[in-house]
Amino acid sequence: MTVLSRRELITATLLQRESIGEQYHVLTFDVPKGIAAEPGQFTMLRGAEWGEAPLLPRPMSYLTAGTTPSVLIKVAGEGTIRMARSTPGEPFTLLGPLGNTWRPPAQGRRPVLVAGGVGIAPLLFFARRLHETGIRPLAIYGGRTTRDLPLDDELSEIADVTLATEDGSRGHHGRVTDVLAKMLSEDALVYTCGPDRMMAKIAELCAERDVPCEVSLETPMACGYGVCLGCPVPTTDAGYIYACTQGPCIDARRVAWGKGEHAPHKRPEPKRIAP
């Protein structure tokens, strides 16, 4: 098997779409020569027969790599609706592998993976990689309801998982941040992917206790390889960095959480309409 090491745009057929409820779907592709993606990296994914709308590919973290690379999608808009309805045999274009990888776990620190909903994808890939090297991480996995915990069984096989739902329908009744606040020890190394608000809160918790934390940021992007400049992340030390080439995995302390109206964790509340 020849393994790709450089970025490449390939056309691959969909092998399988595994739907987990209406919202979440695992798409698995047939790539005989393989994709050498590492946990944390992403692909720009688009239906090869979409025509001119939806126009842009969508950034998706790899869930697995190799000859049957896969992604986990959550239905959010026109592009993901198409993906959720796709059928085996359908051609897709995959540009990748893109972005950086999760930093390797440090000696003497126990990895703690904190996932929110679809943010499980790069963390499950990472947990599998850790498992291969004999490391069993702690994991906290949360969502609004039990339906927002796709692939929880897969995670439980290789990590010590605490589940949390906001409505209490499964696991801890509350948020992952409540769970983390209780169990965060000084020798932890936190990896997190999920909604911006969740990651901002986790970054704050880790900073308070001087625990290293790495976040995987999701932002809109058009190209994924550093030319559209659509994915700036405000930082505390270097103006903007770009999530596609300088991320998506970023030291949480570098992110200027809350800097500027449109900074990551300040996704605004809906504007009120006066009655």
Binding site: A53, C228, P268
Partner: protein, 302 residues
């Protein structure tokens, strides 16, 4: 093999396919994909006198068959470009069109003078039509007198060929193009993006931090093609066509409408090798018909 070369004034391009400013970085991001020296040329990200951080996020969003952007001309500045990017482009034999932006005539001149001191800049493209910055930009490009003033001042500052990028929002684009021609422009590029707006109905807010953004992509194509068509009857300098070109067929339409060369922009985002594929497709179209690329220019015109 058919002849794919086209002439833009004194500059000969090896084929009529260029990449558009703002959609191709500095041309150094493509080593994994193909040799960009095979293109007719590349237009750099808009260069300003000093580095610019650009606008706050969100900067982009998708719209029907297109996208809005309000990047705000984030760039490394002309000095870093000359020191770090241009030598690499020169070494690779890339035909470089330096797109430049300023909010004053003096700064336009200063950037042009800096570029004039370097070898390896095939042309300068004046961005007088950016819709996403508070000063300069589109305010120059909407007004024939202001466009001519910038063109004339830069013309005096450098012997490098000058292209001027037209705003589709000028009331009378032909008047702007003619004023630039009279002021010494070697070509006009048509068109820059058109300002658009997208609102998130759940959040009840504009999707972009800048509220409005420039519309690009296939949605823009018929408008751009019409403007190239109209300008071809009004100016005698070459026209560089741009607007939603995604396939070789699209590029050929622009050539047939009167463009001498074309720029590929948004298509690079969904396929990094889009411009190369389009160049190959135009060559194939010519080969099967026994035509040279320059034979296509303006043929559809009455």
């Amino acid at each position: 093999m058919t002849d794919q070369a086209v002439s833009v004034g004194s500059l000969t391009l090896k084929n009529p396919i260029l990449t558009a400013s703002g959609c191709f970085g500095y041309g150094l991001e493509y080593d994994d994909f193909y040799d960009v020296a095979t293109l007719g040329g590349i237009c750099t990200k808009g260069l300003s006198l000093h580095p610019r951080l650009g606008n706050a996020p969100e900067r982009i969003c998708e719209t029907p068959a297109g996208m809005l952007n309000a990047i705000g001309l984030a760039n490394v500045g002309v000095e870093v470009f000359c020191a770090e990017k241009l030598p690499k482009l020169r070494a690779r034999g890339v035909t470089v069109i330096a797109n430049i932006f300023a909010s004053s005539v003096e700064d336009f001149v200063a950037i042009a003078e800096r570029l004039d001191a370097e070898s390896g800049v095939a042309a300068i493209e004046l961005n007088v039509s950016c819709p996403n910055v508070k000063e300069g930009g589109i305010e120059f490009g909407k007004d024939p007198l202001m466009s001519a003033r910038v063109t004339e001042a830069v013309r005096k500052a450098t012997r490098i060929p000058l292209w001027v990028k037209m705003s589709p929002e000028a009331g009378d684009i032909a008047a702007v193009a003619k004023a630039c021609e009279a002021a010494g422009a070697d070509a006009v590029t048509a068109i820059n993006t058109i300002r658009g707006l997208s609102i998130d109905s759940e959040l009840r807010r504009a999707r972009l931090a800048n509220s409005t953004g420039g519309l690009s992509g296939p949605a823009l194509r018929p408008i751009a093609l019409r403007i190239v068509w109209e300008l071809a009857g009004k100016v005698s300098i070459p026209i560089i066509g741009i607007g939603g070109i995604f396939t070789a067929r699209d590029a050929i339409e622009f050539l047939l409408a009167g463009a001498t060369a074309v720029q590929v922009g948004t298509a690079n985002f969904s396929d990094p090798a889009a411009a190369k594929k389009i160049a190959d497709g135009v060559r194939e179209y010519c080969e099967t018909r026994g035509l040279a690329a320059k034979d296509l220019i303006g043929i559809a015109r009455p």
